[in-house]
Symmetry: C2
Subunit: 664 residues, 2 copies
């Protein structure tokens, strides 16, 4: 470091990252110093020369998005946030790295006000989600024009990110779509936890990405000029995303531990920290960044002020209507057209009483929602005709310059689809929904969880939700998926019973601005049960009495989805035998759990309770109580016509009747 020069070198600026990172990990006694030290030079080039961002206006819709996919290197991101001047990211927060309620947890947790575009840590998620951001950029650009949306998406990804299968799905799609504004900086450091990457990883990664239709560039990741030229070149791409392979040395600067997995996931130790200080010429105390270095960094943090102001001026010239549309799109709020559209649709359906599969009901709900809500962008993982996700008269998002459509063909890439949807939600301007078979919730699960953890409104349309799909058999029949999804905190699992509830569940999903939803929908037809119109969204209470008992309520049948009509049938038989029975539809356990005790008690009743769901019992005891019974599955399904399967597995109105009577 040349302390007396007016303008510190990029390497000196990078040293600030290295020092903060190793010091914070040292203070926390845990963490990952190697990656931030290895990628400090690359990040310094990106943030001082290219990234369009304004720490004073951090949620600026047209900022470049930067994703640290290798989330274990969180100190890189926190160092950058502090150095470039995000107000709340103080040096005290850096000192509290990995402590309870600090702004500097072990892995980055989404907070755009700190420059943290998403939560990362589970490898593969960051780079794949960033593909969704880059896609959202192009789609919103097509809608709002270059004046308002015209930015890049940058990613730092590790070997591990690129080994994960989801990176294949998302990057293949990025190449197919020609997302030229996506630039991935690969930390090609040859080191993983087990040792050198060649223990398990000998792909020609650049060739792999070229096979997806990407540009690739290889540079020495410590040669700042070369990195700068590579990024500049990548930005000129017109029809391809770019992978820049940055050959780096993990823990660069640490004289004894660099280039070894010893610096990956543990503090360097006091001796090595001291030796590193000497080696990189950083003589300052821990957590001290000298003024001239900090000033240089803060100046980098103001590089885009002019661009921001120009953008604001352009935004200000919009008509009131156009401005409102733009703001609503990027508000992450509840679409203004939602409630009225749903109520009108419900009224029509209650009157018409169709016997639609709920996937068909969902498709028909989308037929009214998508035209009314321009942010909605649909898609399916190659199951469009089965998922009923495509609305008539919407065009595909074709890619390669054609992004004006509203429907994404994700291919057979369920996990990739889920990550892309998360990226679109995070980017703003889009409310994504995407379909697959509910069985493949398992493929999407890491991304569904991340959506829940990040509090993002991503809507998963999961059809063929039980043995009711019939002949495709146990590989395609979810039996444990409802339970497994209900296990994820902050995820709404919505299983509507009929067309009216399906519309209500769509409303719930779109109103839940801080949570993802899974719509669990049938393949098979179900009758309309809600034949009397109510403007109120009854499903929003999670569970409600859909058919009251005649006479004293002696029994309550609790059911979801396709089994609600079966419960209604059982009730009829019980009532005929003089047993007052209510049916409770429970489209969402999560929402019911939030109701007050009095409401819950009124729904559950005091008599016999029997639960019915074409799925396993796990979780049902919460609602059934000690003396309750459950009619459902006890294991995997079988291949046969669905009516036979319901009989074979004993999920019938008769079985429910018997279960009630056995407990009276």
């Amino acid at each position: 470091m040349s302390a007396d020069s007016a303008q510190p070198s990029l390497h000196t600026m990078a040293s600030a990252i290295r020092a903060l990172s190793m010091d914070a990990v040292e203070a926390a006694k845990s963490g990952h110093p190697g990656m931030p030290m290895g990628m400090a030079d690359v990040a310094t080039v990106l943030f001082t020369q290219f990234l369009k961002f304004d720490p004073k206006n951090p949620t600026w819709a047209d900022r470049d998005r930067f994703v640290l996919s290798a989330g274990h290197g969180s100190m890189l991101l926190y160092s950058l946030a502090y150095l470039t001047g995000y107000e709340r990211m103080t040096i005290d927060e850096i000192k509290r790295f990995r402590q309870l309620h600090s702004l500097t947890p072990g892995h980055p947790e989404v907070d755009p006000s700190l420059g943290i575009e998403m939560t990362t840590g589970p490898l593969g998620q960051g780079v794949s989600t960033a593909v969704g951001m880059a896609l959202a950029e192009r789609i919103t650009n097509a809608r709002f024009g270059d004046e308002l949306i015209d930015h890049y998406t940058y990613v730092i990804a590790s070997d591990g990110d690129l080994m994960e299968g989801v990176s294949h799905e998302a990057c293949s799609l990025a190449g197919h779509l020609g997302l030229n504004r996506l630039i991935v900086l690969w930390d090609d450091n040859h080191i993983s936890i087990d040792g050198t990457t060649d223990l398990s990883f000998t792909d020609d990664t650049q060739a792999r990405f070229r096979s997806y239709g990407w540009n690739t560039i290889a540079v020495d990741g410590h040669d700042t000029d070369a990195v700068s030229k590579a990024i500049a070149q990548a930005r000129t791409s017109t029809d391809k995303p770019t992978l820049i392979a940055c050959r780096t040395i993990i823990g660069k600067g640490a004289p004894n531990k660099a280039n070894s997995h010893a610096c990956h996931g543990s503090p360097l130790g006091a001796d090595e920290v001291a030796a590193t200080r000497t080696a990189i010429g950083w003589t300052h105390e821990p957590f001290v960044v000298p003024n001239e270095v900090l000033s240089a960094w803060r100046a980098a943090g103001t590089r885009s002020v002019e661009a921001y102001n120009a953008w604001s001026s352009r935004r200000a010239t919009l008509s009131a209507e156009a401005g409102k549309a733009f703001d609503e799109a990027f508000s992450h709020g509840v679409p203004s057209a939602l409630a009225d559209t749903i109520v009108a649709f419900k009224q029509k359906i209650s009157a018409e009483k169709p016997s639609w599969a709920t996937r068909v009901a969902s498709g028909n709900t989308l037929e009214v929602l998508v035209p009314a809500i321009p942010e909605m962008v649909g898609g399916s993982a190659d199951l469009t005709p089965s998922n009923n996700t495509k609305v008539k008269n919407t065009a595909d998002v074709k890619g390669k310059g054609e992004f004006a459509g509203r429907y994404v063909r994700y291919g057979v890439r369920e996990h990739g689809m889920a990550t892309l949807m998360n990226g679109m939600t995070l980017h703003g301007g889009i409310i994504p929904y995407g379909g697959t078979f509910m069985q493949f919730a398992d493929y999407c699960r890491p991304a569904i969880r991340l959506a829940a953890l990040m509090k993002q409104r991503t809507v998963f349309v999961m059809t063929h939700d039980s043995i009711g799909l019939g002949e495709d058999g146990p590989t395609h029949q979810p039996v444990e998926h409802l339970a497994a999804l209900r296990a994820i905190p902050n995820l709404l699992v919505l299983r509507p019973a009929d067309a009216v509830e399906t519309a209500e569940c769509w409303q719930i999903a779109l109103e839940a601005t801080g949570a993802p939803s899974v719509l669990a929908l049938t393949r098979q037809n179900v009758p309309t049960l809600r034949t009397e119109h109510t403007a109120e969204n009854l499903s929003a209470r999670g569970a409600y009495v859909i058919v009251e008992a005649e006479g004293e309520r002696k029994a309550t049948i609790l059911a979801t989805g396709s089994e609600v009509s079966l419960a209604v049938e059982a009730r009829k038989a019980l009532q005929a035998q003089g047993i007052g029975t209510a049916v409770v539809s429970m489209p969402s356990w999560e929402l019911f759990e939030r109701q007050d005790d009095a409401y819950k008690a009124s729904v559950l009743g005091t008599g016999v309770r029997v639960g019915v769901e074409a799925a396993i019992r796990l979780g049902w005891d919460r609602w059934l109580g000690d003396k309750g019974a459950f009619v459902g599955m006890t294991g995997f399904g079988e291949s046969a016509p669905y009516q036979e399967l319901y009989k074979h597995f004993g999920i019938t109105a008769e079985a429910v009747v018997d279960a009630v009577k056995a407990r009276l």
Copy 2:
């Protein structure tokens, strides 16, 4: 077809597959005719010229393995099984396609006696699992020599299979390991459900596979000579797997629906079936294969009889000891050394009373098991030092001709690892176990489910099983994973409380020859609670009273894993206040559920019940009853030292004491 020729042509033989497939789908009124019709020629070449198999000795250890990854094309496999003479696969079973309890369900369900090496359907699983079979072949070849194990693994995979991320993970590893006996026949038909594949998929797939270190060959999939030459060439590879891109026409033979997604997933319809008969010159009634064609096929089914006999002779010349070792390895049975090894280890541990993390206890258990059980092959998804999966003095399976090791470096490929392990289990000769963080059970989930559905003993070592991992924070802290795993039918979720239970859980996992297991293990230290040696495996009952109440039992604390010691601490405080309290350790809910009612009642007790687990409540109500209480998590974790997190989330002995007292 030339009915008068002595030997039907390959195309005529393929016509039999086409006819059976379309007729069966037609009869079932559902199914996928397009794929079997498209790949009939390729399959005919493979089965008549190359595949080493003997329908009379279908489980022959050295048979070639054939995996139909695109499981929706199940009629291809059933047709082949019938035509080549697997005894139980009668024409009546073909007629009962997709009917309850037929041998011909919608998707193939593992049954080697029918030539069905694995259950397929969820795309990507087949090709990835086959990599594990090919790896198992090389590892068992290294152990037993060319005389006993020396075969190929063939796969038919679809576009969808190759779009799935797991194919990236597994095929990248296959290239890295140089699995030259693996030959993938890619059904390159340009059609997916949404339409033509170029809607979403424009990879240069051959270039992609070359980037993994594969050979690639492209052929016209209807040119039987070209296919034959390509397979012959692939078999000569010495250090690389081979992808053969077979350009085919989906639904080949159907004059109006071929080359369209219209024939992918629906019956052709009576008219098109009739038109197809004419077009392919197949004049026979539905389900009728004329004698000369059937004879030709049956002859193909006897092609390997000589090879089988020669192999049997070689097998017979083994020494008694070597023969026994071989048989035990391929028996899929309980290792003979298991029980004694575990008992001796438990005795030592009970006496020494270490305070090991259960991951450390697992590592130390493996130190005695792996040397005693030569079938055990370990590995980790690049978390070896964290998962404690590698036993001292075991070498890596290096690949590229070096397969003598016992440890696989899977790289950051959790899902790929899980599929490879399933493939090794299915192949036989190996009992695989592999480690990752429990958080990444989500990544492995589709393969874990498939192991459970296939009843395969695959052992998943999942460490860092709660907020007890501390600073890495919510992205790495499982809170819902225990519940989500418990939801999977036929999966043993084993969460041991201490070192002794860890050894017992290893015994349970290895004795469960028809089920996969997940070992949920702590990062943090726990005390040894089982300080009194018992030869009996107490954990095998699923739950048991680990500390009895002093005096009348008024309360029972139910806990698992690291929370059992916390429960013991709470019990001490309660006993000090005169409240007789028992502690129940519940290492496996599944095993406890199987016990008789009397045992269950004796364990659960009649007094107050409080459950403690550093995870969400879902499922616990089953054990707690109406008046029970639960001390655990209600949402995602946080990043902080773990002791602080337990306090922060109120998972403490004090909280348990309070919960008990509030209910007395």
